[in-house]
Symmetry: C2
């Protein structure tokens, strides 16, 4: 049973390509983060010594600020292991990273308690608090990330130095949680361990690992989340002593525990929690097979609600800051001063995870389209192109309250290491394949310059080299090498929905237009092996916000890339582009440019005189008073890399209807 | 020193006119509410017997649901007294209301404690809790409404049966609160007593009444509201035991206590609290005169912020449900499913109160324009035309979550009696005057069919009869009667801003266009006494939402009346008019109609083929697929009086820019 985390190393990214360039910052990113782990106290936290910051009052009561440290370390280890296992020839160069992983693993081993328990906060600070606040305290979330770290550590180092203590910890969890009379009938406030346990089961085959994940998923939301209410009463919490991220008492929809997952009709609450939970549910469907259709129905229902009504043009999710999550259907303001916009990095990483699992049980290009959208826009924008600074929120427009910028680190540092590990395993997202009796079935979800090496159980090898300048150019060619001509390679290629009917495919000198089934075209032998060229023209297009979003805006996209305007290119802006309208009749100009400061190469789009900029000082006669401006659009992922005042916007207003009848 | 509550009885409304018809429902309204006072237990609550509902868990902890009962009773007494004192000839017919007032006053007198204390909850339920939670528990708010009830009771009954115990209670409050070492340095969580004490001072001349109001106003917000923090600590509240209406711990901007009023730059928090507080501050400025300019600067700054950036087209305020108050600047969604809209009835009543006080210290038509807007739209829409059902919220559009409708009563019943007392004192809002050495200066703020009788200290009388069909027709004529020809009547008439330059005025057969100063034209003798006709054409106009509101909508208005569309007139609607755009080039048709069910007469506006209704099923090709519909507009105040499905909207989208370039 494959995962991006288990297949990534079969992919080699072609040097100097778009993704290869991005991923070349990984050593820098990991070293930047390692230095911050040291600096903040996280690095040494598994030594179980008190750190001065442990006494800080929590920013978000009752969550101690250091509660996530276990997961920060685990995610860094994970990102490091992807890099190390992919670049053995560079191991010497990465010696510092390798040694840090080893030291951290030593410390984690040393931090394990006799009964298997493994958590910094509940060993050093709150010794009696173990498993008394599943609702808020991320204990099982941390455990999940430790499991994920152990899996990749085992993959890379071929030893069990980390896996062994983690398995012992999982044994303790298995005995602690479950339906038995002496067990806790609880489930994590922040899902993560469920998807980790299912991946662990795929390695170990230990049924207990699958069963514990299944228990957490199916127990979740029983009696409206009553476990959390009882747990709070056992702690002696007063009825109105409730974290501020809950809009009401007992609003357990915050963590998707207000009702069983099968009964949830709309996607609600904290966006990262929702994505991590549904990723596990989709994987449970895959592992359980035909007995679990009802769970697939539930996941698809929630996915459709999210993509259709609660996702931004950039693949961001979560409009509401209070609970870092979903608002009502179509409530998708672009900025803080318009009512909100969260679009957390980790939530869009969660979309990728969920889409990947869904593709495995229900091959449909809509999942891959959304995965690509989230990746190229919200996920990639969360890191500077030098790999050294990051975002947590990815709002579609800046405001006086929230400028467009990045930070070195966050108190709750979930996002920076998450992007590192996502880039680390990126090869596993590009394509998926299965060995068949006669060869291999390969499905290509994302396009990039890379080579996939598929080794069969027979020892035969099929290599597919994909050549393209994606996302700037839509021409993609595939060259196949097989150790035996008899091997049958059946390929499926995704046709992005935005390509409409403008794409073409040719193979062996002849062109054809096969019908796409669920968004994928099938290329069987002999065409697959004779070299394929897919051409998906990249043409700038206008994406208009849904009429129900309460904003009449349009943004520019080209292929998978969504664009924004920034003041660094449009220096006349003083109002975060609030009064800039796009003249939709103005022509687009496209140019491949290289930014001299960062050396980033990308297609810039401009619309000469395409901006109608209204003079807000003249409101209400505003609508008859404007100047035309040249507009320059920059890929959203590249925003805030070149200085400027931090004014940025994705969706610009479209011109108002001309009329002389309007008054104040 | 005059107030609407002290001058209202000088105005007689002309029978069968618009306001007269509305005010004729007052006996029905007061009887409906009296029956509900009985039914819910409020009527007998001052008997100080426990009521079963006292044990109910609070809907909004820590506020007991019955905490407002004192003020509900007080406001009903107040409304009743306006009616009784205005209609002595009807006293026989209103005997039940008169007797209820007397019985309630008896009960209130009996409920007073030996030391003067007077409050239901803290006498019957929580005997030890007196003055321990000013932040949340409305104790001083209730006291304020009791003072206001006592003032009008004294005015009407010419006795001190209610005023006497209230003065005793105020003595207790004066001794309890203040800067002294043994006094509480606190101030009310919900302002109201401040404006009531200043009115009390205007009657009694007792400096202590002025000083206590001034203390509450100037102490408010000291050290960031530290009093509330200390008070919570004294109660033993835990740090995170915080009411859900506070978005964060200690967010005392909820009740405008985050900093001293002089330092507040923008209007924030609970809208009713803000209006009641600023009303008191404006009156303090009037009472204190030239020593208090800095307070006038502060109030004007907050007023400008509100009217310019945080007020709906209907004169509603408050976009955010959680704290029933202001959002960020220009955050003005129309409906729950667009991100919010509260526009509470009492908040717009507060706008009228504040505008009235500001007109007294800074005569400027912008206050009266806003007062008129709030009154004719948000305040009037809050009561059905039969006077029997009410609203709390006055959203600009319905949604599946919140249909356009009214209710008989509310658990927190602030709004229904508030509209009754506002209509009761309405005569005091229309105009204001001051005796001069030679006669009288009269300022007309609002237009309606009514007669004002001004008695001079000399015994002379000036009577001004205003004749108009306002708000349906903009012609207003004035006829003056004087007991002596030597009396000089100087009149000022407000020119509404929406009249632009289309108004005319004529007097004594000659027409002239005097210059309006701060929105008022001056008409001296002999023109004033020779009969004036002001003509302000009522022409339908389009009000477009401010560009920063994040919605491209326009609504229709005519004179002071803002219109909406309702499904009862536009029966094809199934989506709360979300997909209905206005064709701004379509002609308006106006017709004076009488609704057969309610007998309400009003100007209906229609736009034949003026609606472009888009087929949302065809999204994203939505924009090229529409049908034209006839649109019928109804005054917003009249919505939800004729049945229907409850679909309604004020601001409709304007057509999108035509283009072939838009894609999904």
């Amino acid at each position: 049973m494959s995962y991006p985390q288990t297949t990534f190393h079969h992919t080699t990214f072609t040097p100097h390509s778009f993704l290869s360039r991005l991923r070349h910052t990984l050593p820098t990113t990991l070293r930047t983060q390692l230095s911050l782990l040291h600096h903040t106290g996280r690095y040494d936290a598994f030594r179980l010594q008190p750190h001065p910051s442990y006494a800080d009052p929590p920013t978000h009561w009752p969550v101690p600020n250091h509660l996530f440290w276990d997961s920060d370390v685990a995610k860094w280890i994970e990102g490091a292991c992807y890099l190390l296992s992919e670049c053995p020839e560079e191991a010497g160069e990465l010696k510092d990273i390798d040694e840090a992983v080893k030291e951290l693993v030593d410390m984690i081993r040393g931090a394990q308690q006799d009964d298997g328990y493994l958590n910094i906060h509940f060993t050093v600070v709150d010794k009696g608090g173990r498993f008394t606040n599943l609702r808020d305290l991320h204990e099982l979330y941390n455990a999940g990330h430790l499991i994920e770290a152990a899996l990749i550590h085992h993959h890379h180092y071929k030893n069990t130095l980390l896996l062994e203590p983690i398995l012992k910890y999982v044994d303790l969890l298995y005995n602690t949680f479950g339906p038995g009379p002496s067990q806790l009938h609880g489930y994590p406030g922040h899902p993560e361990i469920e998807l980790a346990l299912l991946r662990l089961y795929a390695l170990t085959g230990d049924q207990r690992h699958h069963d514990l994940a299944r228990y957490f998923i199916t127990e979740r939301g029983r009696n409206g989340g009553q476990f959390y209410t009882e747990e709070a009463a056992r702690r002696g919490d007063r009825e109105n002593e409730v974290p501020r991220y809950y809009p009401e008492k007992k609003s357990y929809w915050y963590q998707q525990a207000h009702k069983p997952i099968l009964e949830q009709q709309t996607i609600k609450g904290h966006a990262v929690r929702a994505m991590y939970l549904l990723t596990a549910v989709a994987d449970l469907v895959r592992q359980d097979g035909s007995g679990s259709e009802e769970y697939l129905v539930a996941v698809k229902r929630l996915w459709a609600d999210m993509v259709g009504k609660k996702m931004y043009e950039t693949g961001g999710i979560g409009a509401v800051r209070q609970w870092e999550g979903f608002g009502d259907a179509y409530f998708l303001p672009q900025a803080t001063d318009e009512g909100g916009c969260y679009a957390e990095t980790c939530a869009s990483i969660g979309i990728m995870m969920l889409a990947e699992r869904l593709l495995k049980v229900d091959l449909n290009a809509e999942y891959a389209d959304t995965m690509e959208l989230a990746f190229y826009n919200t996920v990639l924008t969360s890191m500077s192109v030098d790999g050294k600074s990051f975002t947590y929120l990815n709002q579609l427009a800046s405001s006086p309250q929230d400028l467009s910028k990045r930070e070195e680190w966050f108190e709750c540092a979930c996002c920076p290491p998450n992007i590192a590990r996502t880039l680390g395993m990126m090869g596993g997202y590009i394509w998926s394949w299965e060995e068949t009796s006669s060869g291999v079935d390969l499905v290509v979800h994302l396009y990039t310059a890379a080579t996939l090496t598929m080794k069969m159980s027979t020892g035969a090898v099929v290599t597919v080299q994909m050549t393209t300048d994606w996302p700037w150019d839509g021409k993609v060619s595939f060259a196949v090498t097989k150790t035996s001509l008899e091997l049958t390679l059946n390929m499926k290629l995704r046709i992005p929905k935005w390509a409409e009917d403008k794409w073409t495919v040719s193979s062996g000198g002849s062109s054809s237009i096969p019908e796409a089934v669920n968004g994928y075209i099938s290329i069987p032998e002999p065409y697959s092996s004779s070299g394929i060229t897919l051409d998906v023209p990249m043409i700038p297009r206008v994406i208009r916000a849904h009429p129900f979003t309460n904003r009449e805006t349009a943004c520019i996209a080209r292929g998978p890339i969504v664009y924004c305007v920034e003041d660094v290119d449009n220096s006349w802006v003083t109002d975060h582009f609030k009064t800039t309208h796009i003249d939709l009749e103005a022509p687009f100009q496209e140019e491949l440019v290289t930014d001299p400061k960062t050396n980033e190469t990308y297609v810039q789009i401009s619309m000469p005189s395409g901006g109608q900029v209204y003079d807000i000082e003249k409101y209400p006669s505003y609508y008859t008073s404007y100047v035309a401006r040249d507009l320059v659009f920059t890929p959203f992922y590249f925003r805030a890399n070149r200085g400027g005042k931090g004014h940025m916007r994705v969706g610009l207003k479209v011109p108002p209807y001309p009329t002389g009848r309007i008054s104040a």
